[in-house]
């Protein structure tokens, strides 16, 4: 007997009874980058409507923060954007530091920048790999993973664990760079651009890739501003805003790197922006390795296990850092006790995912997959 299609009849242009096919893409699907469920209404290959349904990975981190001492929430923030865990941590610690008056020594700032930028390189490499997979190119993924393995090795030598490093502390960092580590990182930063060139040979000028990416999932500049999109996705739509340059936190004002900006706002522009950003980050890490000063790595008043007894003053703060996905903000409310009263987290992936519907309606299924991949969402960051 014929399979039953659950189609929702709707009027098409000519007023005839138009049958659309409704498909649930997700929460378990090879290319939704996590447990995202898309309720698709399809007219053949053309996507009529996309409704993202979130919450399958919702662990309510904001409620978890209210149960524990300030520092105990740090390892939990690592689990939000698990492609670049170090940056989440840094954002949270920086936010709480606004309410403390600790003096972060210069060397600790440089170590934080190194730790954050290595995470960003790992994240962008993983993104290029999975973007290739979404388009069907198998081998770039493994080349990216080979490079990301080198980066994770550096993080393991620095902080003891490859991904969820739990390395940034109030007023400084946990460990100093092991001997010879800076030299190894610096050599690798010279080698990384060659590997990026290899990826570009395979992906960027390839005719099939250009046909699949140019003019797909376009987000014009004014809509990008209205959707509050930030990070590489915004820079691909023409918003040349980078928190590390426009509101320099930590010691970013001492590095010179430029911000890649494209104006077409399609998937191809995002690919170019992220590949260029990989090179810029390599430059930053290289400069940081060269100019890192000697000195203590944590403020003396918060040595060792005193970190767990940190007690910020009563007050509120909204601090933002440029995470790999965009503007990662923490709105921390402290009532003077040892536990945060309220922590609100601005997940960049959550905000960048909102325009998916506007970018994909009217395009084909493969374009939807390419656009979803190009936004670079991580469901831990979306669902929090």
């Amino acid at each position: 007997m014929a399979p039953a299609l659950s189609a929702t009849p709707a009027k098409n242009g000519a007023g005839k009874e138009q049958q659309f096919l409704e498909i649930n893409m997700g929460p378990q699907h090879p290319s939704t980058h996590g447990v995202l469920r898309l309720k698709l209404t399809l007219n053949g290959e053309i996507v009529e409507d996309v409704e993202p349904i979130l919450g399958y990975l919702h662990r309510s981190k904001e409620k978890l923060a209210e149960f524990a001492v300030y520092l105990k929430f740090a390892p939990i923030t690592d689990r939000m954007d698990y492609n670049a865990p170090g940056l989440n941590e840094w954002g949270y610690i920086l936010a709480v530091e606004q309410l403390l008056d600790y003096q972060v020594p210069e060397r600790a700032e440089y170590l934080r920048v190194l730790h954050g930028e290595l995470n960003r390189i790992g994240n962008h490499l993983l993104w290029v790999g999975t973007m290739g997979l979404d388009l069907g190119a198998i081998s770039p993924f493994w080349w990216c993973w080979r490079e990301r393995e080198r980066v994770l090795e550096f993080l393991e030598q620095l902080a003891g664990v490859r991904m969820h490093t739990n390395y940034v502390r109030f007023g400084g960092v946990k460990f100093d760079a092991p001997p010879g580590w800076l030299k190894r990182v610096q050599d690798y930063m010279a080698e990384l651009p060659l590997k990026i060139q290899e990826l570009e040979d395979l992906l960027v000028q390839n005719d099939i890739v250009r046909a699949r990416m140019i003019g797909v999932g376009v987000l014009p500049k004014d809509r990008a501003v209205s959707y509050g999109v930030t990070g590489p996705m915004a820079r691909a739509s023409g918003i040349g805003f980078d928190l590390r340059r426009y509101q320099p936190y930590s010691v970013y004002d001492q590095f010179d790197f430029d911000i890649p900006i494209a104006d077409t706002g399609d998937v191809y522009a995002r690919l170019l922006v992220r590949l260029q950003e990989l090179r810029e980050t390599a430059r930053i890490v290289d400069q940081a390795c060269k100019r890192i000063p000697e000195g203590p790595i944590v403020d003396a008043r918060v040595e060792g296990s005193k970190q767990l007894r940190v007690k910020p003053r009563k007050g509120e703060t909204y601090t933002r850092i440029e995470s790999a996905k965009g503007e990662l903000g923490y709105y921390v409310v402290s009532d003077g006790t040892m536990k945060p009263y309220r922590v609100r987290i601005r997940g960049p992936s959550f905000v960048n995912l909102a325009p998916l519907r506007e970018m994909c309606v009217g395009s084909k299924i493969p374009d939807l997959i390419a656009t979803l991949g190009s936004i670079d969402i991580v469901l831990g960051d979306v669902d929090r």
């Binding site: 649930n24 979130l54 919450g55 919702h58 309510s60 904001e62 409620k63 209210e66 149960f67 001492v69 606004q98 309410l99 809509r223 501003v225 209205s226 959707y227 509050g228 999109v229 930030t230 918003i239 805003f241 426009y246 509101q247 005193k306 767990l308 007894r309 003053r313 009563k314 007050g315 509120e316 703060t317 909204y318 601090t319 933002r320 503007e327 903000g329 709105y331 409310v333 009532d335 003077g336 006790t337 040892m338 536990k339 009263y341 309220r342 609100r344 601005r346 959550f350 905000v351 909102a354 325009p355 669902d383 929090r384």
Partner: protein, 240 residues
């Protein structure tokens, strides 16, 4: 026993200790309760916490120095345009001028003025805070042109927290407001489809409220026919 906070024994000034968390950590790491009598945990804490909170009651807390209130030209323009609608609060770090909007109805005109004339193009975040006596909605704005932040706070009632929706001005407000409605229980009038974004639709209660009894589990099961999630109070087959 949460020896860290120390305030479980004597309420500090102002806010009563947050009940659920303290009660929660009460039993948390101490299954070996029967070995240690109740008075015991206080002592090793003091002994162990070398430089930490001394056992003696803390000296009278000296009032913190008044926080700065930066008066940028945006704030001045805003105060002139809407006389009497704002009270300036102390800055939210780092140097974000903060204004408390006293009259809820003025929210949309204020935001329109800020977005259009004062060029605050970027709505970074909408936060809901539960101060137990009342709710508060906090809007963080950012001006790309002038590279400066601004924060607007609005006070809402705990029972029926209603505020106008900003989906007309910024498209990002759509999901921010849905999340605040879902987790904090603030309803935004004029929102195109205000329904839960992270939790299943039939979830009872708003988790981020301070009075949300989080110990009572709710189970979610997928209905095979319609493919929708249903929430049950007790575990059923297929529910997690």
């Amino acid at each position: 026993m949460n020896w860290l906070a120390d305030e479980t024994r004597k309420p500090t000034d102002g806010t009563t200790p947050t009940k659920p968390p303290a009660a929660k950590t009460e039993g948390k790491p101490e299954p070996a309760k029967q070995a240690a009598p109740a008075a015991e945990p206080g002592k090793p804490a003091a002994a162990a916490a070398s430089a930490g909170s001394p056992a003696a009651p803390k000296p009278a807390a000296v009032p913190a120095p008044p926080r700065p209130k930066t008066m940028t030209d945006d704030v001045k323009a805003l105060l002139e345009k809407f006389p009497g609608a704002f009270t300036q609060l102390e800055d939210t770090d780092p140097k974000i001028p903060t204004l408390q909007l006293t009259d809820k109805l003025l929210l949309v005109p204020v935001m329109e003025f800020l977005q259009a004339e004062r060029k605050f193009e970027h709505l970074a975040l909408i936060t809901g805070i539960d101060w137990k006596t009342h709710l508060e909605a906090v809007y963080n704005l950012w001006s790309y042109a002038k590279n400066v932040p601004l924060e607007i706070k609005v006070r809402l009632e705990s029972k029926d927290a209603k505020i106008a929706s900003l989906t007309g001005l910024w498209a990002t407000a759509d999901w921010h407001e849905r999340e605040n409605y879902d987790l904090m229980g603030i309803t935004f009038e004029g929102h195109p489809n205000l329904k839960r974004i992270l939790l299943p639709d039939e979830w009872r209660g708003h988790p981020l409220r301070k009075d949300y009894e989080w110990k009572k589990e709710q189970y979610v099961a997928l209905d095979a026919k319609t493919g929708e999630d249903h929430v049950y109070a007790e575990p059923r087959e297929g529910a997690w």
